[in-house]
């Protein structure tokens, strides 16, 4: 056989693509019922977009109209004269403090529960009980949690968490007690999101760690939690959104004092033992429904609240959508 025979045949040129079908408007052949269904689906989608845009634009219009730097930077003052009743610096600070506190309590507990449910879950009756517990907390209206919290935190054992009046009557209302209950409304979101992330890690990854002589704790700490950080981040951010938006717990457990009223003593501890308000209660109190009767300030504060929540939602999207390489199952 000559050397020529060793020449590889050229790869066959790709067959010419079949002619593209003329753009086909399939709707023409659809039944009337299908057409109506599609139209309704379209309408529902568009309506939702319009509604969202209307909320944002209306609040933007109203908010920008009344918002000023001085509102953001001055303390609220008890005055019927709206030119002298100050801004909402304290509610903004209250929102931030309460969100940080609630998240700081909820995140480690929530991640811990999720890890236990996903990696241990023994005995199984306890795991089922914990799962039900998380679901019940998730389904409980926050006002019920708030009332329950007040009941608990007014016990004298918890006197170190809030003001104590003369005669040892525990006030039960403070950033601590409100933060603890806020942690409960964020908890189910963190547990759910973290569990989902842990669940998506293939079991052979765990086994690979065990096969290197690592125990369960090291595997969780060094492999599983780092691999779940996106899920944890999503859950925590969603939880923050819930805390920022909640009103009932603030009204009942934060004392709803316009200004932040720290307890005298140690700076940070005293602040957290003190009372205050958040943007949600500020909006409520100044809205036509509340007692303040300063709707302009309510609109401005509501706008700030909306901006915070939209920002948090955006952050969730950013965390959840980021593509990271992962394993094959």
């Amino acid at each position: 056989m000559s050397t020529h025979a060793h020449v590889p045949a050229p790869a066959a040129p790709p067959a010419p693509a079949p002619p593209r079908l003329a753009h086909h408007r399939g709707e023409e052949s659809w039944s009337r019922g299908d057409k109506i269904g599609v139209a309704l689906a379209w309408a529902a989608g568009i309506l939702l977009c319009v509604l969202a845009a209307a909320i944002v634009l209306y609040m933007l219009f109203r908010g920008i109209q009344y918002l000023s730097v001085s509102l953001l930077a001055t303390h609220p003052l008890p005055s019927l004269d709206q030119t002298k009743s100050g801004g909402f610096l304290d509610p903004i600070e209250g929102t931030v403090i309460l969100t940080i506190l609630g998240t700081a309590i909820a995140a480690p507990i929530g991640v811990g529960i999720a890890v236990w449910l996903s990696e241990y879950a023994r005995p199984s009756w306890l795991a089922r009980a914990v799962e039900s517990g998380v679901e019940i907390v998730a389904g409980t209206p926050s006002i019920v949690l708030a009332i329950f919290g007040l009941l608990v935190f007014q016990q004298s054992v918890f006197g170190f968490l809030s003001f104590t009046a003369e005669g040892n009557a525990v006030f039960g209302r403070s950033f601590f007690t409100a933060g603890a209950m806020m942690a409960l409304i964020a908890l189910p979101l963190i547990v759910g999101s973290t569990r989902e992330a842990l669940h998506s890690i293939p079991s052979h990854v765990r086994e690979a760690s065990y096969a290197l002589g690592k125990d369960r704790i090291s595997t969780i700490r060094r492999v599983l939690l780092p691999a779940s950080r996106r899920g944890i981040g999503t859950g925590v951010t969603l939880g923050m959104g819930r805390i920022v938006g909640d009103t009932a717990i603030v009204v009942i457990l934060l004392g709803a004092s316009q200004q932040i009223q720290p307890e005298n003593g140690t700076p940070v501890w005293g602040l957290l033992k003190g009372t205050g308000s958040t943007l949600t209660t500020y909006v409520y109190n100044n809205s036509p429904a509340g007692e303040g009767g300063a709707p302009q300030k309510a609109y401005a504060a509501a706008f700030v609240l909306l901006v915070i929540v939209i920002f948090l939602n955006f952050a969730v999207d950013l965390i959840a959508r980021r593509k990271e390489p992962t394993w094959t199952r």
């Binding site: 050229p10 690979a208 760690s209 690592k214 094959t328």
Partner: protein, 320 residues
């Protein structure tokens, strides 16, 4: 050996058309034939328009044997494993030696992966699993070992590459960083990490990117990283559970070469569905069927003149 199939030769006149054809040729393509070793198809013409024969990169049918004398490391004695009521491995006794590769072959569900996973007691993680018989490492029952200690001596590689979500360096150093003890510094770890990556044949590709995330590597690189990660803790036995089934042929070849180069120091057990792979790398072969060890012996004998009827059918492609 002629790398061309008759079909490809049809319709091509090597005398008349070479130059015109060469101009339109696609880049070199590795073509895979089932019964033939992989060959690389080259553009046929050199710069002067002369036709040059395509080189044939033939892979030896059998990779060369290790030159050290085989030494027994592990042994199973009448090993049985059941999941609940279902017996997955039935009374299997075999020997794992340093200096050779033992391949476990057999149809799906025959118990070969269960047998493999029992050697480092990974089966213990399955709640329903129970075990009878004995597994010995250097004459000692593995049940007497601390399980983390056992798994450091008996490493494992999985079907899917599974680097941890950390840097390449940290992946290899993962097994070296013991919990509780004083943490070794990066400077102390570096020689071991580099040496392990070199042995796994990956170092040249990643030496400038040791701090890059390991999950960004390609599948074949990931699997070699997993080999390096296992080697870093200096195992005496290495268990491979279909390590190439998720990889492309080139990565497979690199990994097979790595396996063969390691066997003089480490006893290797490989589970594979790929009979050609078993022929290429194995020194001993154990054929299992429905939990029973049907045939165990030297690779040439099991593939060349199997004793049992089942083995003959399986190695000749009769079932599987």
């Amino acid at each position: 050996m002629d790398p061309l199939s008759p079909a490809e030769e049809e319709g091509f006149d090597p005398i008349r058309e070479p130059i015109a054809v060469a101009a339109q040729l696609p880049p070199p393509v590795r073509r895979i034939a089932v019964e033939e070793p992989p060959t690389v198809a080259q553009p046929p013409a050199d710069g002067n328009g002369h036709v040059v024969p395509a080189p044939v990169a033939a892979l030896p049918k059998r990779m060369p044997r290790a030159d050290t004398a085989p030494l027994e490391r592990m042994r199973t004695e009448a090993l049985s494993i059941a999941y609940g009521q279902k017996l997955a491995v039935n009374q299997v006794s075999l020997t794992v030696r340093r200096g050779e590769v033992l391949a476990l072959i057999g149809p799906s569900g025959c118990g070969k992966t269960t047998l493999l996973r029992s050697l480092n007691r990974l089966v213990d993680l399955t709640p329903a699993a129970s075990r009878g018989g004995r597994i010995l490492l250097d004459g000692e029952d593995v049940d007497l070992f601390d399980v983390t200690h056992l798994r450091r001596r008996v490493g494992m590689l999985f079907q899917q590459p599974n680097p941890f979500p950390m840097s390449i360096f940290d992946n290899v150093a993962y097994g070296l960083r013991q919990r509780g003890s004083k943490k070794p510094s990066k400077r102390e770890l570096e020689p071991v990490v580099v040496h392990s990556l070199q042995r796994a044949g990956l170092f040249e590709e990643v030496k400038d990117n040791l701090d890059h995330p390991a999950l960004a590597l390609s599948g074949g690189q990931q699997q070699r990283l997993c080999i390096a990660r296992s080697l870093a803790v200096q195992p005496e036995v290495l268990l491979l559970d279909e390590p190439c089934s998720a990889l492309d042929p080139i990565s497979t070849q690199v990994i097979e070469e790595t396996i063969v180069s390691l066997r003089s120091e480490i006893a290797i057990v490989i589970v594979t569905h790929n009979l050609q792979q078993a022929q290429r790398v194995a020194d001993h072969v154990a054929f299992m069927y429905l939990g029973d060890l049907i045939e165990y012996g030297e690779a040439e004998r099991v593939f060349g003149s199997p004793v049992a009827e089942r083995t003959r059918e399986y190695v000749s492609g009769g079932f599987g």
